[in-house]
Symmetry: C2
């Protein structure tokens, strides 16, 4: 049994997770970044106390953080959604509680969840890509979480895979997430609509991933082309990762993975084009299975992987 917390920019989710990876109880509070560091700290410590009252004795708590955690000091170096920099969150929280606190990047927490109880079950090395407004990553090799020397490993979304018509928020040009995230799809479709390309997508005030996939299934040419472009770069990136790490399995998660087999088949086709050793090393490529719970479950089972 473990306790996991998923600290997001809009909500803090906490849960008690059984030893076979099932969420037994959950709590959810709103995240109010403007309330400041101390108040969020207090909210989380209250949540942990409440979960501990409802669970058997738990001596460690795992927390997924949407930011960079220093590998040695465990200090949160940067957490843009909450406006935090250089926060001793772990020790500040431990001072309020009588449990050990383990921090993990939120995308890595989701990977950990899928690895331990989801689509990565049985693998000993796995790379997860989380396709949402950005692209997150989590890497587990030989049963070890790869966090890197400075805590910035698995930033797969910032791998440069080509030249793009707009720059990434990180300041670089060509990052994977400017080609293959929801944001990237929307920007590309907006550009093409502005260029006068005819499409059903023009009728929507706001488009999202689900609408784009729906219109692609209805054979809308712009939607199809945008998804092909997204999958081309994603296949290229996965092939690069395969050349570098050759893991047992790649797991595709995040909001866009809701498109299911339609996305997966396009992606497998794209990956085949870019694989270096087609005869020797065909990686498995599957959809994530734990949905939004992956991060919470992964944070809760972190105690088994250090």
């Amino acid at each position: 049994m473990g306790i996991g917390i998923d600290l997001g920019g809009t909500a803090i989710k906490g849960g008690i997770v059984s030893d076979d990876g099932k969420i037994i109880q959950t709590l959810e509070y709103a995240t109010i970044p403007e309330s400041g560091y101390e108040n969020i700290l207090l909210t989380i410590s209250r949540m942990i106390n409440e979960l501990r009252e409802r669970s058997e004795s738990v001596s460690e708590v795992g927390i997924g953080i949407p930011g960079v955690i220093d590998a040695h000091s465990q200090m949160i170096l940067s957490c843009p959604n909450l406006g935090w920099k250089n926060k001793n969150f772990k020790s500040d929280l431990e001072n309020k509680l009588s449990v050990k606190v383990n921090l993990i990047n939120d995308a890595t927490a989701a990977a950990m969840g899928e690895y331990a109880y989801g689509s990565g079950l049985g693998a000993s090395s796995m790379i997860m890509l989380t396709l949402g407004t950005g692209i997150g990553g989590g890497i587990i090799l030989n049963d070890q979480i790869i966090s890197g020397t400075h805590g910035v490993a698995s930033e797969i979304g910032h791998m440069i895979v080509g030249e793009n018509f707009y720059d990434c928020a990180c300041g670089k040009n060509g990052c994977l997430e400017t080609f293959s995230s929801v944001t990237a799809l929307k920007k590309y479709i907006d550009l093409q609509l502005q260029n006068g390309i005819p499409s059903n997508l023009a009728q929507y005030d706001m488009i999202n991933g689900a609408i784009i996939f729906d219109e692609a299934r209805n054979n809308d040419q712009l939607a199809l082309e945008a998804l092909d472009r997204m999958c081309r770069y994603l296949g290229l990136a996965i092939s690069n990762l395969n050349d570098i790490l050759d893991p047992d399995i790649f797991v595709i998660g995040g909001g866009l993975s809701a498109a299911g087999e339609f996305l997966l088949n396009k992606l497998i086709g794209s990956l085949q084009r870019f694989l270096t050793y087609k005869d020797l090393a065909q990686p498995q490529l599957v959809l994530a299975s734990l949905g939004n719970d992956a991060g919470l479950i992964g944070a809760a089972c972190l105690k088994n992987y250090h």
Copy 2:
């Protein structure tokens, strides 16, 4: 004390290596690929016996192989320079000898040597790039060699980093080694000379890495531009690797690394342009220090890393 063998396309080098990483004795025989698998097997077993007679009791031998070794069966799946496919080299050799044989990809063996006794000394995670006619790689994370599920990890030279005017030998377009190897430099300079770009390089019947660096130091504009292009893509690739794995240190080896600080400074400048977290994660970037001995030394110390 250990015995290492570096099996290359033109020579088989063997050596006795002390526990502090010094080569005490060496043997070198020519590799004659046309002589066939059995003869090369015999040559190597003879070499190992000779080295064992000269050394203290050694119960394991490490051999660097220029090919793909299956991670589970240790079978050599592919070894293009020798024309080998699916060879049970390890067990065939063990049947002739009374020692345990450990196989390792030759680029990874070089990385292992630098990690244990060269420029990676003291690091716990290291990526080595070997710049020669192609680009090889070796990855060590948390003291573990990353060979991959199918034995094709660390194929850094096949990471796609852009679009190029010629295809890679692997069949893909845009592989790092088509931008940043000796072969890539020569092809690019040939193209530019054919395009009528004036350069001192036009006077040579055959150019090589040393000539290109010499002319660049003499301020030849084409040589400088070719090296800048090479370093631009290499910096991009190292930044990608840093985003994915965030290791302690990157080590640059291979023939081109003989250009020393001139290359290193260009490369550091290029890497700075592409780093995602300039404030948080500055990777170390250094030249290899063991030269051509790295592979032999790495193969010999392989016994300490499994």
